[in-house]
Symmetry: C2
Subunit: 225 residues, 2 copies
Amino acid sequence: MIRALIFDVFGTCTDWRSSVAREVAAALPGLDATAFADAWRGEYQPAMERIRSGARSYTALDDLHRENLDTVCTRFGVTPDDPADLARAWERLDPWSDVPEGLARLRRDRIVAPCSNGSIALMTRLARHAGLGWDCILGAEIARAYKPDPAVYRAACAALRLAPQEVMMVAAHNSDLAAARAEGLATAFVLRPTEHGPEQATDLAPEADWDVSVGNFTELAEALA
Amino acid sequence: MIRALIFDVFGTCTDWRSSVAREVAAALPGLDATAFADAWRGEYQPAMERIRSGARSYTALDDLHRENLDTVCTRFGVTPDDPADLARAWERLDPWSDVPEGLARLRRDRIVAPCSNGSIALMTRLARHAGLGWDCILGAEIARAYKPDPAVYRAACAALRLAPQEVMMVAAHNSDLAAARAEGLATAFVLRPTEHGPEQATDLAPEADWDVSVGNFTELAEALA
């Protein structure tokens, strides 16, 4: 009996690449905004890895995004007028078109919450921008750890006071689902074949027998009805 | 500039006394359900005080409610068929009539979140029952401390990445507002003259020059418009 659905957000609920490129194009006209967005996102895993490895104490993703922006600006040889505002581009991501309505439908019978590496503040503002109706905000900040650290999935279940098997992780990334399954959660794969653009080479199919594998949130709602 | 409103919940958003009495009457017919509800709530502050004083480590309010239920059942000489379910009466509180619509109006322009001593799980389920539309769940659990411990107000502002003066605490209890003001938050008093029943003797008026003092959430929305 699945009582709560917890969601990866950046690639699963929102189209971060197009949205960040749009914000970059507005703040830094004249450069390849999509290449800049990809480079910025390219700093995401290395920045979190320093925290996962213990080399650095937990630091909110808002701060990592801000630091990574400086790194990428230096590489591109550009200086935004308001770097703090540009760093908040990650609060202004647009949802994939099926998400707001699909999520509302999923929410009727089950608790829904993000289980993202974004902070509470970032997830809260992004939800308001993107029209995501959550019941609460879970994820990295309540665990002070970054996915796929098992502590994040455990903290989400503990915060809901549910057993792992009562909670389903929903993600477009096989690695996220593998980490959730290892902690005993149910798993749903949602295909997002253009998260990384038209030449995406990863996560183009479910790579294990996830409990559910679907093409969008409408199909997920139907699968769980 | 107030960017977020954080709310006391049990007496400010919901009518815990009538709601708990209703649940008690259903589970334990034949006793004075209102007296039982008052006795149960009477164990609330002493249980949290053991944690505030350091005598006990942080324990979620769900567990304190469950323990306190046993205490009060012994005193009343009763045994519920399903004590775990009755303990969850606190997830099934009805809102004061002005709250769902007033909160939705307040939410249009500002982040809204509970800053309650209830856990994330309790606040999440209560919000679904009572129709409270929150942007995120703050409060005791993210601080692992109980109001009026200053850590709770500080943790709420930190989670929102806002300065205290950008956050307004909304409560029907002067003591809650005094503690919030001491941490630099703005304050709004909402009169709930029957939280403790028709003979309520406390919090019948604002006891300081709070930034706003109103009679309900509709008036709060008007005052902040």
